[in-house]
Amino acid sequence: MTAPSTTVIALRPAPRAGRGGLPGLILTGGVLAAALLLAVLGPVLAPDALEQDILLGVTPPGTPGHPWGTDELGRDVLQLLIAGSGSALAGPVVIALGSMLLGVLLGTITGYVQGWLDFTIGRITDLLLALPVVVVAIVVAGVFGSGYWVTVAMLVVLFAPSDIRLVRSAVIEQSARPYIESARMLRLSPWRIMFRHIVPNVTPIIVTNALVNFAIAIVALSSLSFLGVGVSPGSADWGRQLDDGRALLLSNPAASIAPAIAIVVVACAANLLGDVIAARAERKGSAE
């Protein structure tokens, strides 16, 4: 039987407890802050991560001097993990912020001004959204070479369309509200209306989306490294490490499981922090 659609019966209070609480904020924010700190301090904490010891080769966790063992080239897994956090996180931060910037700028303008500009940018975003990310990445790598920052730049462009759409629809929703119509009747400049009145009111959505993008970017960038597009072979990176360690699953499981867990933990923390912020903004909104 379908759920009764009259509110008389169907209206059950949605359980909301536990979402948007302070512990969630501290936990997810703390994990992310720790990961970012690790990325910044990586070169200091693990200066010899790339030092090879071919003679030693792969060793299991618990080897003296190498608590998490070593990989095929005799590199220390723990040091490699610490050093790899830099490229695993720097790119996603740039991707999340870059696409957010493009999204806010173009999304706000297209949503508020509409007209031919909206149409043109709308069709371009449609086109970009229709492209398969991995195929484009391989083609771009073929044309421009497979540098890390080339890949990051490409991902900024590929992430931006969904940001533009999201911001645009949120801006359209705000534009119809009386406070914006009052601002228009006062003949305030469009820039002022867009960036002083509308954008601050859609900020929670933008921030939440940027955090989700950050999580997706970690996984995307790691996947591309795993496929060999992105960071160059031999450098420290979680996606690279995951790929290299794949063959050692029996001799040293930590070599691939450690970076995998690191990716999952950071991506989940970013996603959940996004949820927490969204829930807090929602609660604050309802209090207003």
């Binding site: 379908t2 009764p4 659609s5 008389v8 019966i9 509200r177 009386p178």
Partner: protein, 590 residues
């Protein structure tokens, strides 16, 4: 009245929130075939009481007390088997028929769902033909054709949707129907129809109704008993005729006095100063004391207990033995005559479209200097589109707009902000939640080159203390927000002010304050006002002339006294008749 006829009784029903008690213990008793009205302003706790009675409170809130339906009694703080009660013992009818029905299901399906759900719980199996015949019966009971079952909510008018919602609410044969502001979202003429449907159901089924309403006009015609709530506590309770005709609590009296009459213009509009305190900020002693003219030291320190007064009422007031001086409200003479040689705003042959549909079919309108002109009509008459065309927010397809003899550009982009400003309906979305009051006002002042220091004076001119410049909209009540919105609209010293339903979202006591403010500002500044409203009683109080709009065309226009007392067009007459408050009480009608 014997006790067996009680269909719903709640004793010491109370609602607690995270910040303390929101609704103080209240007793509710509904007899079969009778209506209990719960009356109060926003923040009085009337909707929370209704929700507590149906188990639909927000999970952050907690209800306590004992509720009894017929023979079944439950403690609200323990687990009440709500699913087995909702629909069959008790049912809820919500305010807005536009959102309470599912837009993607046909009306018949929505009623049938309740029928099946209730039948399933009682272990009956119904064939789909039986369900269908019950659905048809329910639709007939609310005065709708059986064919409505096959239609979607968006194909129906507001009044018809509310009837479908009523049909769904009674589909499981409940003993009690809780109607939360069932007519507030509807036009005056449709309101009457919906109330008539409820009254008919009550007569035929012996349905007990709890009517939650802020509208004393609605309550007057329907209620047998009335509970007046103020700041989450009972102020007065008793038979309808006692409470409405001889109120003892000053709050009830002021609430009644704030209701604008349709048949004459008052010398002075009596609002209730201030606003309902929120749960965390209730004063010691009587919660109404800060707004009460009779308040004494005792009121400010001791909470008054409910005590019986004559003729079956109970009142929580230290002054219940002091008879209220019933102030005879003065009738004003005829409204001031306005010199009307050269109209300031002239609208000629205005046509406007929404997509391919023509909404306005050549409207003519004039507003003279210092004049308040009301535009009335039902929803769909085009009055809001007219306001938006004059405001520049909607570009008309044809017609002429002139202000002071100079053509007013059709597009907002070509206009001067000192020409026309507007005050909107909803005070909650009229202000940017991120800006302080001061920031919003300074921005509006800068538009016409006025110094930012004028903000304080501007606030005082709309009756707000100048310290409000630092406040944010969320710290303000609805009435205060609307005052800020008026101040912002007046900041560039516009030559014409448009009020689009600017008081219809406000409580009646606050509405009177805002109307008085608009009248005072008109007298002080001489700014003419185009006043869009569906509420004819409001027009009677503030407007000099009135324009009656029907389906995008003006059917009648003239001075308010003339149109209201001797309407020439049958449509004006029918609008007036529908707005006529039922002066008779329920009992006296039979």
């Amino acid at each position: 009245m014997n006790d067996t006829s009680i269909v719903l009784e709640a004793r010491a029903l109370s609602v607690r929130g995270p910040r303390g008690v929101i609704v103080e213990p209240v007793d509710v008793r509904v007899h079969a075939g009778q209506t209990l009205a719960v009356v109060g302003e926003s923040g009085s706790g009337k909707s929370l009481t209704a929700r507590a009675l149906t188990g639909l409170l927000d999970p952050a809130l907690e209800a306590t007390g004992v509720v009894r339906w017929g023979e079944r009694e439950f403690d609200l703080s323990s687990n009440v088997p709500w699913p087995s009660l909702r629909g069959s013992a008790i049912s809820l009818l919500l305010q807005d028929p536009f959102t309470s029905l599912s837009p993607v299901h046909r009306c018949g399906v929505q009623i049938a769902d309740t029928v099946r759900a209730v039948a399933k719980r009682t272990g009956r199996r119904l064939s789909s033909r039986e369900v269908q015949s019950i659905v048809t019966d329910r639709l007939r009971e609310v005065g709708l054709d059986a064919s409505v079952a096959g239609r979607y909510p968006h194909e129906l008018s507001g009044g018809m949707r509310q009837r479908v919602a009523i049909a769904a609410a009674i589909a499981g044969d409940p003993d009690v129907l809780i109607a939360d502001e069932p007519t507030t979202a509807l036009d005056a003429s449709t309101q009457g129809e919906v109330l008539e449907v409820l009254a008919a159901l009550q007569r035929e089924r012996g349905l007990g109704i709890v009517l939650i309403s802020h509208d004393l006009g609605v309550v007057r015609g329907c209620a047998d008993d009335i509970v007046v709530l103020y700041a989450g506590a009972v102020a007065e309770r008793g038979p309808a005729r006692v409470v409405l005709d001889a109120p003892v609590h000053p709050y009830t009296a002021r609430l009644l006095a704030a209701e604008p009459p349709l048949d004459h213009r008052l010398e002075r509009l009596e609002g209730i100063p201030g606003s309902v305190p929120s749960p965390g900020q209730r004063p010691e002693g009587c919660a109404f004391a800060p707004r009460c003219a009779l308040a004494t030291e005792l009121c400010r320190t001791d909470v008054p207990q409910l005590s019986a007064v004559s003729r079956g009422g109970v009142v929580a007031c230290h002054h219940s033995s002091t008879p209220l001086v019933s102030e005879e409200r003065d009738r004003a003479g005829t409204a001031r005559t306005v010199s009307f040689d050269d109209a300031l705003l002239q609208v000629r042959g205005l046509r406007a479209h929404h997509g391919a549909t023509e909404i306005l079919h050549g409207v003519d309108l004039a507003v003279g200097p210092g004049e308040i002109v009301g535009v009335v009509g039902e929803s769909g008459s085009g009055k809001t589109t007219l306001a938006r065309c004059v405001a520049g927010l909607h570009v008309p397809s044809d017609g002429e707009l002139t202000l002071g003899g100079v053509a007013l550009p059709r597009r907002l982009g070509d206009r001067d902000p000192r020409d026309v400003q507007m005050v909107f309906q909803d005070p909650y979305s009229a202000l940017n939640p991120r800006l302080t009051v001061g920031e919003a006002l300074r921005e509006a002042l800068a538009v016409s080159g006025r110094p930012a220091s004028d903000a304080a004076a501007l606030l005082e001119s709309v009756g707000l203390p100048s310290k409000y410049v630092g406040r944010r909209p969320r710290d303000l009540s609805g009435g205060e927000r609307q005052r800020v919105a008026i101040a912002r609209a007046l900041a560039p010293r516009p030559r014409l002010l448009i009020c689009d339903e600017s008081v219809s979202a406000l409580d009646v006591s606050v509405q009177a304050q805002i109307l008085a403010l608009l009248l005072r500002l008109r007298d002080e500044l001489g700014t003419p006002v185009l006043f869009i409203t569906h509420d004819l009683a409001v027009v009677r109080q503030v407007c000099d002339r009135v324009v009656v709009l029907r389906q995008g065309a003006v059917v009648e226009t003239g001075p308010v006294e003339q149109v209201f007392d001797e309407p020439q067009h049958p449509y004006s007459a029918s609008l007036l008749a529908a707005s006529e408050p039922s002066l008779e009480l329920k009992g006296s009608r039979a």
